[in-house]
C-alpha cells in the first residue's frame, strides 16, 4: 500500500492524462457523429454507407490503428495526436449508429408537427429532434465513454503514458498491486464518465421526468371557456 501513497502524484497525473485521451475524442467524436447521423437519416440511399462504413472502423484493432496513425498523419510516433485521432475514429464509429437510432426515436408525428409549424430542416433538427434524441443519445455516449477508457489503456503499449501503463508495467514486473491500481483507476474513471453523462442527460431532460399525471390528481381544474 505504501507504493500507492508514494506514487499518488504519478497516479493522479496518469489518470488526468487518461481522462483527456478518452474524453476529448468523446466530445469531438460526438460533434462529428451528429451531422453524419443526421445526414444518414436524411439520405436513405447513402445511409447504409455512412452507418456501415463507420461501424467497420470499430473493427480495426486499436494497436494497429495507433501504429498506423503516424503514417497517415505524418506525426511523430509518440505524439499524443495519434491517440486523439484514433480515439475520435472509434467514437465516431460507435456514435453514428446511436445518433441514427436517437433521431429515429423522435416520434414522426412530432417531427411532422414541427415542419407544419414552419421549422426549416436545420431548425427542426436543433430545436426539436436533438433535444428529444437526448435519452437515446446519452446511452450511446455512455457505451462509447467506457469503450474509450478501455481502449486508451492500450496506448501504453506504444509508450504513451496513462493508467494503462500500470497494467503493462505491473505485468512485466509481476507486481499485482500495480496492476490493481491500473484496473481500479480505469474502472473509477469509466464510472466518472458514466455519472457525468447521466448528469448531463438529467439536466437536459426535465420533460422526461415530468411523468404523466393525465391531468388528474393535483392538476388545476379545467375551466370552461367563456
Amino acid at each position: 500500500m505504501t507504493w500507492v501513497w508514494e506514487h499518488l502524484g504519478d497516479i493522479g497525473g496518469y489518470a488526468a492524462s487518461h481522462a483527456l485521451l478518452a474524453g476529448i475524442p468523446l466530445v469531438v467524436g460526438l460533434a462529428l457523429a451528429l451531422p453524419l447521423g443526421w445526414l444518414a437519416r436524411r439520405l436513405p440511399r447513402v445511409a447504409p454507407l455512412i452507418v456501415g462504413g463507420s461501424g467497420l472502423l470499430y473493427t480495426i484493432p486499436s494497436l494497429a490503428l495507433f501504429i498506423l496513425m503516424p503514417l497517415v498523419l505524418g506525426s511523430k510516433i509518440l505524439d499524443a495526436i495519434n491517440v486523439y485521432v484514433a480515439m475520435t475514429i472509434y467514437t465516431v464509429a460507435l456514435l453514428v449508429r446511436s445518433v441514427v437510432d436517437a433521431l429515429g426515436s423522435v416520434p414522426e408525428s412530432t417531427a411532422l408537427a414541427a415542419t407544419a409549424m414552419g421549422y426549416r430542416r436545420l431548425g427542426r433538427a436543433l430545436a426539436v429532434e436533438l433535444p428529444l434524441a437526448v435519452p437515446v443519445l446519452a446511452s450511446g455516449l455512455r457505451v462509447a465513454a467506457v469503450s474509450n477508457v478501455s481502449i486508451v489503456s492500450v496506448a501504453s503499449l506504444i509508450g504513451y503514458p496513462q493508467l494503462g501503463y500500470y497494467l503493462t508495467d505491473g505485468y512485466q514486473r509481476s507486481f499485482p498491486l500495480e496492476i490493481g491500481v491500473g484496473i481500479v483507476g480505469c474502472v473509477l474513471l469509466a464510472l466518472v464518465f458514466d455519472l457525468a453523462i447521466r448528469g448531463a442527460e438529467w439536466a437536459l431532460t426535465p420533460w422526461a421526468r415530468a411523468g404523466s399525471s393525465g391531468g388528474s390528481g393535483r392538476a388545476p381544474k379545467e375551466v370552461a371557456a367563456t
Partner: protein, 400 residues
C-alpha cells in the same frame, strides 16, 4: 379562401403495381371565414388533401391557391407559419412546456420570448385552460387538454387559415362533444378559414358550413351544406355514408318558426302539495326554480310533501324557442306530459308545445304563413315574448 384547381396526387405503387391515386382531380373552394369539412372513409385522401395546402405534400398536378396566391410560388416555411395546423393527438413537442409549445410559431416569426409567451398565455385562456397549465409538460395533460393546447398553438400567430386533421378523433365522446362546441364558439368569434378533416359524418354535419364527401380513390362525391347533404345525397355512396335517420337529423338544420305556445300551469320548487294540486287538473305539472327556469315535471297526485328535487321527472329535454325543429320536437317527444318545454334566451320558461303542433308547422308548405293561428289543436295563446324566427338554428337541447 383556399382553392383547389384540378389537384391530383399519385403515389408510385409498390414494384409491379400501378401507381395509386390518393387525390383525383379535386376542384374545391373553401370560402373565407367558413368551416369546410372533408369527410370520407379511411384512405380516401383527406390527409393528403390537407397536407397539400401547406406543401407538406406536393401535388402531382393541379394548383392550390390561398387568397389568390399560388402556394407553389411561396416559401414553404413562411407559408406554413401563416397556416394553423392541428392534428390528432395534438402532436405537441414533449420537451417543451405547454406555454412554449403555444409560443412556437410566434417565436419562429421572430417575436421576442416575453411577447411570445404573453401571447401564448392569452391563447391558453382562449381555449379554456388555466394559466397554471402553462408550466406543465404535455405528458402531464389529459388527451382533451392536449388537444386544446394543439388548437391554441395553431392559433397563436393569428393565421387566417387553419388546417385540422381529425383533431378531436382521439378523445372520448363526452370530451369530443365539449371540444366541438367550444371550437364552434371560438370560430364564431374568430372567423377563420378552416379546412377540417374527419371520418365522422356526424362531426362533419355538426361543424361544417359546407361538407365535401370524398370517396376512396380521392374523388369528390358531393360538396354541399350539411342540410343539403342530408336532404339530397347525390348517389348511393353518399346516402350510405351519411347514414340513417337522415330526415330526422336534417331537422337539426331547420329553424322552427315561432310556434304558438301553450300557457302551461307551473309551480315553484318547494311548493306544497295543496298548491301543486290546485295548479292543474292534468296528471303532470311543470316545476320552475326561483329564476323561472324549468327543472322538471311532477305528478301532483303522488306528492306527499313539498316538491323537492327528488320528486322531479327529469327525462324531458328543453329547447330554446329559436331552436331547430329537431330540438323542439325532441323536447315534445321526451316530455312525460307530451308537452315540450321551451325557454327564452336566458333560460326562463316560455311555454310548451306538443309534437302535433311541431309536426303541423313542419309540414306546412314553404311560403305559407309562419304565424300559427290562435286556437290550434290545443287552443293556447302565443307566448308573448322571446319568440322569434331564426334561420339555421341551434340543434342543442339540454336535459333538465
Amino acid at each position: 379562401m383556399i382553392r383547389f384547381e384540378g389537384v391530383t396526387k399519385r403515389y408510385a405503387g409498390a414494384p409491379g403495381h400501378a401507381p395509386s391515386v390518393a387525390v383525383d382531380d379535386l376542384t374545391l373552394e373553401a370560402p373565407t371565414g367558413q368551416i369546410t369539412v372533408l369527410v370520407g372513409p379511411s384512405g380516401c385522401g383527406k390527409t393528403t388533401t390537407l397536407r397539400m395546402v401547406n406543401r407538406m405534400i406536393t401535388p402531382t398536378s393541379g394548383s392550390i391557391w390561398l387568397d389568390g396566391r399560388d402556394t407553389a410560388a411561396l416559401d414553404e416555411a413562411e407559408l406554413r407559419r401563416g397556416i394553423g395546423y392541428v392534428i390528432q393527438h395534438a402532436g405537441l413537442f414533449p420537451h417543451r412546456t405547454v406555454l412554449d409549445n403555444v409560443a412556437t410559431v410566434p417565436r419562429l416569426l421572430g417575436w421576442d420570448t416575453a411577447k411570445a409567451r404573453r401571447r401564448a398565455a392569452e391563447m391558453l385562456e382562449l381555449v379554456g385552460l388555466e394559466a397554471a397549465y402553462g408550466g406543465r409538460y404535455p405528458s402531464q395533460l389529459s388527451g382533451g387538454q392536449q388537444q386544446r393546447v394543439g388548437v391554441a398553438r395553431a392559433l397563436a400567430a393569428d393565421p387566417p387559415v387553419m388546417l385540422m386533421d381529425e383533431p378531436f378523433s382521439a378523445v372520448d365522446p363526452v370530451v369530443r362533444e365539449q371540444l366541438q362546441d367550444e371550437f364552434l364558439r371560438l370560430q364564431r368569434e374568430l372567423g377563420k378559414t378552416i379546412l377540417f378533416v374527419t371520418h365522422d359524418i356526424d362531426e362533419a354535419i355538426k361543424l361544417g358550413d359546407q361538407v365535401a364527401v370524398l370517396r376512396v380513390g380521392g374523388r369528390l362525391a358531393q360538396l354541399d351544406t350539411p342540410a343539403r347533404l342530408l336532404a339530397d345525397p347525390v348517389d348511393d355512396f353518399v346516402a350510405d355514408f351519411v347514414g340513417r335517420d337522415r330526415g330526422y337529423r336534417a331537422l337539426g338544420f331547420r329553424g322552427a318558426p315561432p310556434l304558438a305556445l301553450r300557457d302551461e300551469p307551473t309551480v315553484r320548487l318547494g311548493a306544497g302539495v295543496g298548491a301543486a294540486r290546485a295548479a292543474t287538473t292534468d296528471r303532470w305539472l311543470l316545476v320552475l326554480d326561483d329564476a323561472g327556469a324549468p327543472v322538471g315535471w311532477v305528478e301532483p297526485d303522488r306528492l306527499t310533501g313539498p316538491i323537492g328535487p327528488e320528486h322531479l321527472h327529469r327525462g324531458g329535454t328543453v329547447a330554446r324557442v329559436d331552436a331547430s325543429y329537431r330540438a323542439v320536437l325532441d323536447a315534445a317527444l321526451s316530455a312525460p306530459s307530451g308537452r315540450g318545454v321551451l325557454v327564452d334566451e336566458s333560460g326562463r320558461f316560455a311555454g310548451t308545445v306538443t309534437a302535433n303542433r311541431v309536426v303541423a308547422a313542419m309540414s306546412r308548405p314553404a311560403g305559407a304563413s309562419q304565424v300559427d293561428p290562435a286556437g290550434g289543436e290545443d287552443g293556447a295563446g302565443t307566448g308573448a315574448d322571446g319568440i322569434r324566427e331564426t334561420a339555421g338554428g341551434d340543434p342543442a337541447g339540454t336535459a333538465t
